[in-house]
Each structure stands twice: as C-alpha cells, then as structure tokens.
C-alpha cells in the first residue's frame, strides 16, 4: 500500500488508528505488527513471507551472536538475500522495502554485537521495530537504539495523534500536489525523446526532475514522520532543505540523512573516516560512494552518478582546505553566493545521471544540456511551452524547497486558520488522487 493512495488514506489509516487508540498500551505493538502486515501484504504477499522470516531469524541471531565470526555470517546472510533479490532477479520481484529493512537489521546486529544496545527480548517489540508500516517501505532507516525506549513505552494521546496527522498532510501535499504533477514534465520530455529537446528545456526538465525527486522522497519521509508521531514514535528527520546547501558535501548531509548516517556509522567511520591520511580519506569516501551507488541500483548510470558525486566531494574537500589556508579563517564562516549557484547548477546534472538508466540516452541528454549535439526534429518553442504549462508549479516547488514552508507550518499549525488550511489540503489531495489515479502514470491519458 502506498501512503498516497485512497485505500490507505480513507480505509487503512482511519481504521488502524481507531483500533490502535482504543487498545490498551500492552497491545499496541501487537496491533502495530498486525496492521503493518496487512499494509505490506496488500502490495506484496510473497514479500511478507520473506519479511516475517527475516524478522524471526534476526531476532534469534541477535540473541545468539557472541563471536565476530557469528556476526560476519549473520551480516553476510542478510546482505546476501538483499543482493540476491536486487541483482539477480532483475528487480522484477524485488520485495518492497527490502533495501531499507535490511539496513536496519544490519545496524541492529552490529549495535548489539558492539554492546551499544541489548538484544531485544520481546519478539513482538522487535517485530514492531522492523515492520512498523510508517518506515517499512522507504525509511527513514532508524536504528533500534533510537527507538528502543519508545518501543517499550511511549506517549500516545490526542495531541500526538493530531500533530502527527498534520505533519502527514504536509508531506502528502508535497507528494501529491508537487511531485506527482512535476513528474508529468519529465514524462513529457521522455516521450518526446532527448534528441529532440532544446537546451533550455533540457535544463528546465532537469530542474523539474530534481524537484520532483525531492518532493516525492521528502514528502514520503515527512509522511512517515507524521505517521510515526501519530503512533507515538519520534522518527528521525530525513531531509533538511538540501537545495539550500552550498556544496555537494553539505547536500548529502541534508539529503536522505538516515542513509548517509548509516553509511557514515557502519562504513566510513570503521574504515577510519577522515582521521587518517588524505589518501586514506579519499579511499574511504570512494568506498562509501561505491556502496551508495550499488544500493540505489545496479545499472551503470548509478555508478556514474555515485562516482560523480564522490569526485565532486573530494574536489570540494581539497578546495575547502585551500580556501582555509588562504583566508586563515578570516572569512567568518560566511558562504559566498557563488557556492549556492554552483550547487543548484551541478545537482540537476547529477540527477540526470541518476534518472536515465540507458547510458546512450544519458549521453544524448547531457549533450543536449550543454549544446554539444544538435537536436533532431526539435520544436523551437518547447521550453516556453513547458514554462507556460509548468512555470507556476516549478516556482511553487522552488519556494517550497526553502525553509519557508517549515517556518509557516510551525507558525500556523496550532492556529485555526492553519488547521483549516491543512484539512482542505488533505481533501484536495484526495480529490487529486481520485482524478489521476494513485500513480500519475498509471492512468495517464494518451
């Protein structure tokens, strides 16, 4: 089930929340596990079996592991299953959310082995950690350590529930009103064929895709946070206005933060991080980004994307050192405007590498972006038309990428006016979903 679907919004969520609020504290985790299974089974019955087995086995493993070899074997089994499905099934049968819950289980096993946290004794509580539907499908990747206390005891009242609901609606709005509609521009460009778009349109579409990807994922993460809060959990923030960054390094500290933190904690730091030589730091960064690329997908374009990011990060690192030496910290930590411009110019290009799996097509797109190849059968006014059709939406997306939305939300959330706005927003989203079908492409008219 997808959060932005009618089944979830109008059936699953109200019924689940009602039951969840009624049952006594002791039974809440049971209800959560059962509800999550229903949620998951709706989309993928086979995957549910794997998820249940994986949960049960890892519950036992964590309690048994004493030696290093045991840990290595357990990690190999988990990651092996992930690789098996991700890389040998061609992605067709990929169980929903496997990349996310496998990483959570890995973090749990490692944390328990390191003695940072005790293995969970209660199977239901552990199952609730792995399976809870708010974060099951697309994260945020949350460590057991952060949730342990809340799993056992959490406040769950009208205030929490409604605060979470409001946050959920905010994320839903981002996904339905911005991401899904911006996606249509990217779709149009694909239908036209990359060899036939003008250079301005290539840039506009890249920006539209960048915004779409952001509101899709960040919207989802905010919905997850909201749902978590409705149930009494505090899930970590996953995005912090990444497009406001001044460097690619900073961007990836603010984009999909839970994944970045995971790689930092379980790969980068154990390898030595940046505390050793520059050469070693470079190797560590390379390792992290190799794995990040593989985690996102096996096709070559993800490797190009990841390696491109890695290269930029390494260059920025060296530039930063140089800058520091030159100014000797006299700049007062102020970031020049040019850094922001650099970021918003370079990120859409990297996203194109992310978006286009076919390398030849990727080449065509990039060459159109930089005018390195002349267009075939181009419609000269295409970018004006795109701006006419999507200009407002792009502007709304850009504004919503700033901290302004958060700020306004926090100001108005408790006021009647803000609450009415959110309630209307919710039903408007429902209306849009009914119109377009859950997925804008599924029922897209030709």
């Amino acid at each position: 089930m997808v959060f932005s679907s009618i089944e979830f919004l109008l059936y699953f969520l109200p019924i689940f929340i009602l039951i969840y609020m009624i049952v006594p504290q002791k039974l809440k985790n049971v209800v959560l596990v059962l509800g999550s299974m229903v949620f998951y089974a709706y989309g993928d019955l086979f995957g549910l079996g794997l998820l249940a087995v994986s949960t049960a086995v890892n519950y036992l493993l964590a309690r048994m592991i004493r030696r290093r070899s045991g840990l290595v074997a357990a990690l190999a089994a988990n990651i092996g299953v992930l690789i098996l499905f991700k890389y040998y099934q061609g992605g067709a049968m990929l169980p929903i959310g496997i990349s996310f819950y496998t990483f959570q289980i890995v973090s749990y096993l490692v944390d328990v082995y390191r003695g940072e946290v005790a293995a969970e004794r209660n199977f239901i509580d552990f199952a609730a950690y792995v399976m809870m539907f708010p974060k099951l499908v697309m994260g945020p990747i949350t460590s057991y350590k952060d949730l342990r206390k809340q799993l056992h005891r959490r406040r769950c009242d009208a205030e929490c529930m409604q605060d979470g609901l409001k946050l959920f609606i905010l994320g839903l709005g981002g996904k339905v009103l911005l991401a899904d509609r911006l996606a249509l521009l990217w779709n149009e460009v694909q239908v036209t064929g990359f060899e036939s778009i003008s250079t301005p349109l290539a840039w506009i579409a890249a920006v539209a895709y960048s915004l779409q990807l952001y509101f899709d994922f960040a919207g989802y993460s905010v919905m997850a946070m909201g749902l978590g809060r409705m149930l009494g959990f505090k899930l970590p923030e996953n995005f912090r206005q990444p497009y406001m960054s001044a460097s690619v390094r900073e961007f990836y500290r603010r984009w999909h933060m839970s994944l970045g933190n995971w790689f930092c904690k379980y790969v980068y730091i154990p390898l030595g991080g940046s505390r050793r030589s520059e050469g070693r730091t470079f190797c560590n960064l390379l390792a992290v980004w190799l794995l990040t690329s593989l985690w996102h997908g096996t096709t070559g374009n993800f490797m190009i994307w990841g390696m491109g990011i890695c290269l930029l990060i390494v260059l920025e690192r060296q530039m930063g050192r140089l800058w520091k030496r030159m100014t000797q910290n006299r700049d007062g930590g102020k970031v020049p405007m040019i850094c922001h411009l650099y970021l918003v110019a370079v990120i859409p290009v990297t996203w194109m590498c992310f978006a286009i799996p076919d390398l030849e097509q990727l080449g065509i797109y990039l060459s159109r972006m930089f005018g390195l190849r002349s267009a075939v059968a181009m419609y000269v006014g295409d970018w004006q038309k795109a701006l006419g059709d999507y200009g407002l939406l792009l502007a709304a997306g850009i504004v919503a990428s700033t901290p302004m939305v958060r700020w306004i939300y926090q100001k108005l959330e408790k006021k009647w006016f803000g609450m009415i706005l959110l309630a209307v927003c919710f039903w408007f989203c429902v209306h849009r979903i009914l119109l377009q079908g859950e997925n804008p492409f599924m029922y897209l008219n030709f």
């Binding site: 009208a158 205030e159 529930m161 409604q162 609901l165 409001k166 779709n187 694909q190 239908v191 036209t192 064929g193 060899e195 036939s196 075939v376 059968a377 181009m378 419609y379 295409d382 609450m419 009415i420 959110l422 309630a423 209307v424 919710f426 039903w427 429902v430 209306h431 009914l434 119109l435 377009q436 079908g437 029922y443 008219n445 030709f446």
Partner: protein, 417 residues
C-alpha cells in the same frame, strides 16, 4: 467542550470531508468520468449518451436554459453562439439513429442517385506538404506530437488534445479561434471552417471500454457528423498506432490484439470514395507486430525524431484529387481531373434521402464555393454561410425537428456579429 477542543483537528478534518463529499460530488463525478474514460466499462452507447449529457451539464445551467428556449421559440438565445442541434438535443435517439443510418446508406445507393456524374476514380499516391494546407488532424496525444514535432505543424491544422476520445471529440472545447478568448468545440469549429482532408487518429484511450463494434459505431457516428459539416472533405481514418510488444505484454487493457480488433472494425467504415482507411502501423511496426522499440520511450508514443515516418506514410498514401496536388507524380490523375469541377465532387451527402429534414433543393455548389479560397479562414458568416444557404427557406419554428441543420445558423450568426 474540553474534549471537543482536544480533538479539534480530527473533527475539523471530518467536517471538511463531509463538506467535500457534499459539494464536490457532482464535480467529482464529471471530472472523474472525463479523465477516466478508458476505465469506464460498459457499452459505449451509454458512454456516448453520457458524454452528451455531461457536456451539456458541464457547461452549467446555461445549457439547460438554452435547451428550454430553443424548444419553445426555435430561435435560441443569441448569447449561446454556435451551438449545434446535435448537441443541444442530446438525448434524442432518432438523431443518432438517423445519423448512423445516413452513414450506412450513403455507401451504395449513391450511384443510382447521381447517375450523370461519372465516378471520379480514386488514385492513391504521393503528395507533398502543400497537400496538407487544407487538412485537419483530429486526435489524441499522439496527434499532438505530430502537430508539435512534425514538419506539417505550420501547414496543417490540428485539433488534438491529450486524453481525447472519439466519444468526446465533437464536444471537446479545444479549438482556439483568433480574437476569441474561450476555446470552442471541435463541432463548432467544423461549422465555421472548411477543410478538404480530415485525418483522424483516435482509439488508444478508448481501448479500456466497450467493444470493437461499439467503438466503431461511435466512430462512424462521428464521421457521419463530420461529413454533414464538411461534405467535401476526404476523411482519412488512420489505424490506431499499435504499442510496443513489451507494452502490449504488460497485461493491462492496452494491448495490440485489442488495437488490431478495433482497427479492423473502423477500417470497415471506409467507403473508398470519401472515407479511407490508412494502415499507419505499416510505417512504424516491426515483425513482432508492435511499435518498434527504438521509436518510443514509453511504448505508446512515437518519439519526435520518428514522427517523420508517420508523416511520410501519410504523404505516400494520399488520395490524389483532381488538381489538388501531386499532379505530376501520377499519370492517372488527368483521367479524373478532366470532367469534374474541383469544387463539386460527387457529393451526395447534402441530398441524402436518409436525412428527411435536410432541405433537399440546396445547390451543392454554394457551400462549396468558399472552399477553394482559403480553407482555414473562417467562412464569412453573412453571405455564404453554408448553413444559411443550405436552408434558404427558414422552417417554421413550431415543428423544428431536432436534426434541422439550418437551426443553428441564426444563433451562430448573431453570436458572431
């Protein structure tokens, strides 16, 4: 009270939900129906009627009032310009029946009707771009692509929009007119302008509903109506472009078997005289029977780069009309160009006996007159309005039959002046 305040947001959400359901229900139904046409199961006859009703109710109360007035006085409100009788009286079944009858009949008895005219021999051949100067393309997003990325974009006229279906084609407000803010419907546009060739490519959106037969029936009704409005035009039924094999095998309603069945059904509508079927798929399909994979990114639409294949096919398979174009390319042309005046093709449509209301005595030459001048320029309403001349003797408003094509002339004119 305290409890109420505690749950204020949930209560608010519920209230807005009730309000939304109450107010928006009608709007929702309409918009939903319109955007989900392919998803609607059931007979397209229902679709058709539904569509007609929707288009009236969608335009709001105005439509109802207009209907009422038209029935009473026979001279509708001048404010409602260019309304067609077919649309104004949507729920008249005879209307539809006579139209479809018209279509089926027009094929055979023509020879008997007009014995003196020698049958112009139809020659299919290669034409150049100028052939399309008085051509109109009707269609869905695929034709939008043709109009945007093809070489004919500045030459031909395109009334196409994404999500278009044969059921809503005539009533679709998609035509921009110079000096008019509001877009007018295709049907209205066909009353104002003249085209000599009309290409139709539609059907992919319809695949999800109805059967091949019901689709072809609706298609035939639309063609009949177009012929009524544009009696001189050659109508090209372009076969629905197939999808790639991969897209077809996806397992949903969009598949090549369904498309083939529908193409087979609509190809039967061709009469070889005024209506022709073009198997465009020849130009873009491979041995798998589907669209060539490289020609498309979504499996359904041709990429801009390959639109030219479609265009070339249309250029290679045009009906060469006496003097219209392609004169030198085909030796057969002189044969049929000799006797006939280009303005007066063997057009029996206006004198068709199947349409009793249509005043028979019309001079077929009159409406045609305007054609050669400039097909795309709006026909000057006052003197040579075909609708007016078609009925020189205005009928008694009392027994104005629903079909009377003369009816709308008055409001149309009033509206324009």
């Amino acid at each position: 009270m305290k409890r109420f305040k505690k749950w204020s947001f949930v209560i608010l959400l519920a209230i807005t939900g009730i309000v939304y359901c109450g107010i928006d229900r009608d709007l929702l139904e309409i918009t939903r129906w319109e955007s989900l046409v392919p998803m609607v199961e059931g007979s397209p006859e229902d679709d058709w009627n539904l569509q007609q009703e929707e288009s009236v109710s969608a335009s709001g109360m105005e439509g109802d009032i207009r209907n009422g007035e038209a029935d009473q006085t026979g001279v509708p409100d001048p404010g409602t310009q260019g309304e067609e009788p077919g649309q104004a009286q949507p729920d008249d079944p005879e209307n539809m029946a006579s139209q479809s009858q018209n279509l089926t009949v027009s094929g055979e008895p023509e020879g008997e009707e007009v014995p003196p005219e020698p049958e112009p021999e139809v020659v299919i051949g290669r034409v150049e771009e100028d052939y399309f100067a008085d051509a109109l393309f009707l269609g869905d997003s695929r034709t939008v692509g043709l109009g945007q990325y093809g070489s004919l974009k500045d030459i031909a006229t395109f009334y196409a929009s994404t999500g278009m279906t044969i059921y809503k084609l005539l009533g679709a407000e998609i035509v921009e007119m110079p000096e008019q803010q509001k877009k007018i419907t295709v049907e209205e546009a066909l009353q104002h302008l003249n085209f000599r060739k009309i290409y139709i490519m539609m059907g992919i959106n319809e695949v999800g509903g109805g059967t091949a037969e019901s689709f072809a029936k609706a298609y035939g009704e639309v063609i009949a109506r177009i012929q009524e409005l544009q009696p001189d035009a050659i109508i090209y039924i372009e076969g629905i472009l197939k999808v790639t094999k991969a897209r077809s095998d996806k397992g949903d309603y969009i598949n090549n078997e369904a498309i083939e069945a529908r193409n087979e059904a609509i190809s039967q509508l061709a009469d070889g005289e005024k209506i022709f079927y073009l198997d465009v798929n020849q130009a873009v399909c491979d041995e798998d029977g589907g669209l060539v994979k490289d020609y498309t990114s979504d499996g359904v639409h041709l990429k801009a780069k390959y639109i030219t294949l479609w265009e070339e096919y249309l250029k290679d398979n045009a009906v060469l009309l006496d003097g219209t174009s392609g004169e030198s390319t085909d030796p057969a042309v002189p044969v049929d160009s000799a006797p006939t005046d280009p303005a007066v093709p063997v057009d029996s449509a206006p004198t068709d006996p199947a349409v009793p209301v249509d005043s028979a005595p019309t001079d077929p030459a009159v409406p045609v007159e305007s054609a050669p001048i400039d097909p795309a320029v709006p026909v000057d309403p006052a003197p040579i309005d075909p609708a007016v001349s078609a009925n020189p003797d205005p009928m008694d408003p009392a027994d104005s039959a629903p079909m009377a094509p003369a009816e709308p002339a008055a409001p149309m004119e009033n509206g324009e002046q």
